[in-house]
């Protein structure tokens, strides 16, 4: 069947829940897929894929700089900057570039035209291949506060790729996650079987509900006990797509940076079945939308 390709974002409320585990394995069982690591503060998907033929490109943002000969010290720029990235101290114009949000307002407001913009490197994007999979990672420079421009760059690079795309999101539910899921057709939430895990699931669930994204949950690290995350899903009528056991085999493969579905048939089948379910859900959703 000729089907539209899907963009799936994998999220969780905290780190270490299994976002990378899920997205790496889902990408692995899907032919010619694209894996995008948007966890730019500590991308780790590449450790599993070990991509070849790496191409690296810097990501820059615009920051203002001053022509001291033109600056009269009127401070219009300092007053304008809502992020307080500018100061004017004893005749010296000062920029604190890691606070600057690159809005460009100070340049527009300067009555003396003393400000112009220059590029500042905040990180990079890498693209490579691992078997038939395209692997892309964003890397934020240490000390930088916002990885959003890097995520935008990654998603822009993937825009024209007509393949199924798996987006490994940063943890949490902040702006950077919103940026990562905004173009996704489907959001896959991963949750741990603890009260803390349930609380984090609730946070991301609220976020994706706000975005009105089709979604489902994978319960990870399941043991024979009460699962608060599962109870939350039942109460909210959220579809549980798979349960992955707390399995020593998985821990061993993961800690050796091996891709489980390339090493273990049983789990390869679990991930293939999960992918099938997600694909069906997305296509049903699309069919439902077209009837509305």
């Amino acid at each position: 069947m000729a089907t539209k390709k899907i963009k799936i974002a994998v999220l969780s409320g905290k780190g270490g829940t299994g976002k990378t585990f899920l997205s790496v394995n889902l990408a692995s069982v899907t032919q010619n897929s694209v894996y995008i690591d948007c966890d730019v503060e500590e991308p780790n998907g590449h450790l599993f894929f070990k991509p070849q033929n790496l191409q690296t490109e810097n990501v820059t943002v615009k920051v203002p700089f001053v022509d001291p000969a033109r600056c009269t010290g009127c401070r219009k720029c300092v007053e304008f900057c809502k992020f307080n990235a500018l100061a004017y101290i004893q005749g010296k114009w000062m920029l604190f570039d890691e606070i600057c949000h690159s809005c460009g307002g100070c340049v527009l407001f300067c009555p003396e035209k003393a400000l112009t913009e220059k590029n500042r490197i905040i990180g990079s994007v890498q693209k490579g291949v691992s078997e038939d999979i395209t692997v892309m990672s964003g890397i934020l420079k240490i000390g930088e506060s916002s990885g959003i421009p890097i995520i935008n760059k990654l998603l822009h690079m993937a825009q024209d790729m007509d393949e199924n795309i798996f987006i490994d999101c940063p943890p949490g539910s902040a702006c950077i996650v919103m940026e990562s899921i905004k173009d996704a057709d489907y959001c896959l939430l991963v949750a741990e079987p603890t009260l803390f895990g349930m609380h984090n699931l609730k946070l991301v669930y609220e976020l994706i509900s706000l975005f009105k994204k089709p979604h489902g949950v994978v319960l990870n690290k399941c043991i024979e006990a009460v699962n608060p995350s599962e109870e939350f899903c039942k109460a909210k009528k959220i579809r549980i797509l798979a349960k992955i056991p707390f399995d020593k085999k998985l821990g061993e493969l993961n800690s050796n940076a091996l891709i489980v579905s390339r090493e273990n048939m049983e789990y390869a089948q679990l991930f293939s079945a999960l992918w099938q379910k997600i694909a069906e859900e997305v296509h049903n959703e699309a069919a439902f939308d077209s009837k509305r």
Binding site: F83, N84, A87, Y88
Partner: protein, 133 residues
């Protein structure tokens, strides 16, 4: 609160600022420089003190930069503070405002220690407690 601040560590001090919690003479020193609600400013030339509201306290980001600009604009020479972020420290360095590390949360103890030359210069600046983006 009347203090005779004889400054003996490199020149005469006109104005001293301290981040404080409340607008009252019994106030404690505030642990945050950038987001302190008030600055207590002593003017040694006029022998008076004022509470200045810190307009940077409610900033979404860059509170340290804005508060430092505010301190410099108020012609403060010396700041007594428990800590200071690196951006604010860069501003103070440019403006030649001296930073001294407070020894406890009492305004009185610290002013006394300062006037006796017992406070040490603040050596460590922290990289900031920046919130989300």
């Amino acid at each position: 609160m009347v203090y005779d601040i004889k400054y003996n560590q490199g020149g005469y001090v006109m104005k001293i600022a301290i981040p404080v919690e409340e607008k009252s003479s019994s106030t404690k020193i505030c642990i945050s420089f950038g987001r302190t609600p008030y600055f207590l400013v002593f003017d040694d030339a006029k022998k008076e003190y004022n509470f200045l509201e810190n307009t940077a306290a409610e900033s979404r980001g860059g509170a340290g930069v804005k508060a430092a600009q505010f301190i410099v604009d108020n012609k403060v020479d010396v700041l007594l503070t428990p800590r200071c972020g690196e951006n604010a420290a860069e501003i103070f360095n440019t403006a030649k405002v001296k930073l001294y590390k407070t020894i406890n949360d009492s305004v009185e103890d610290n002013l006394k220690a300062f006037s006796e030359g017992k406070l040490e210069l603040l050596q460590e600046v922290h990289p900031g407690f920046h919130h989300g983006n």
